[in-house]
Symmetry: C2
Subunit: 156 residues, 2 copies
Amino acid sequence: MILSKTTGYGVMALAYLAGQEASMVCGLQEIAETECIPPIYLRKILGELRRHRILRSTKGIHGGYSLARLPDTITVWEVNQILAPDPYLDECILGAGCTKADGCVLHGRWQRIRRDYVELLETTTIAQIARSRQMRRSFARRAEDRIVPEEDEEQR
Amino acid sequence: MILSKTTGYGVMALAYLAGQEASMVCGLQEIAETECIPPIYLRKILGELRRHRILRSTKGIHGGYSLARLPDTITVWEVNQILAPDPYLDECILGAGCTKADGCVLHGRWQRIRRDYVELLETTTIAQIARSRQMRRSFARRAEDRIVPEEDEEQR
DNA sequence: TGAACAATAGTGTGTTGGTATCATTTTTCT
DNA sequence: AGAAAAATGATACCAACACACTATTGTTCA
């Protein structure tokens, strides 16, 4: 039930774009490098997201990608459905044993967990991911700032 | 996150044994046929469960398998860990992006869902599965009983 | 001696992550 | 205007892995 690497790549790339100024076009190389994604593979992923109107692309020498929708309207669930559709929507957790109508003891509680999972992905947006990444980055920067003077103090 | 076919087979076979009289020995063929499991594959599965002391086997011409522990002490979680250990215990759902210490926005809620999932499997025992199967079977039998006289009625 | 389990090696297929190639579009330089 | 360069688009391919399953050869015991 964990998300695939491909979905992770897609979410990261979208979050990167969400972190840029709106409708700014970013090149594939730029995204791939800062997010550590194999560029050729990323092209495939972004192509798929473009086909589903999650993002726009412009060709030509200064081409690249930009979000086609506001980042707080794009959910992780949607991205995952595009890149790695999950076939087990309401199948029984134990397999052939029981059908939808005639569930086993696990069925009810399993459905609930499954619903919580879907809801988590549906309520998490690219905008949230981007914000949390930005926060983490600024924490890291502040931590660096704090270390430098301490080293100075030790030296005096 | 759904359980593998192999785990399903294992659980079904154990539930079958739990449905027999205690310490009764059942042959591989018998289990495989009634549970619709490829017999040669089932042998591998039961061998694994035997190695982990979930069940006992006796060789020789009237050999077979029987539970090594009371069925209400064997959990689905345990069976699954033996047959298809889940490696993603507390990894981040989005992959490389964040570590255990430095989680993304999804992290907290995901951990909770994950815990609910593990708890579901840990609190579901082979005995429960066997009981629910027995109940379903007796429902089916009663339904049949009800149908037979109705057919007779139509004929008269 | 024959019917059952034990162990281990092997097989086939599907998915996933990733690559290579060729075509198309657009800017820019001459 | 025209050619070259730089970017995406599309498609086919590839390698590694996991999962479900098989085959074979050996061992035990009524």
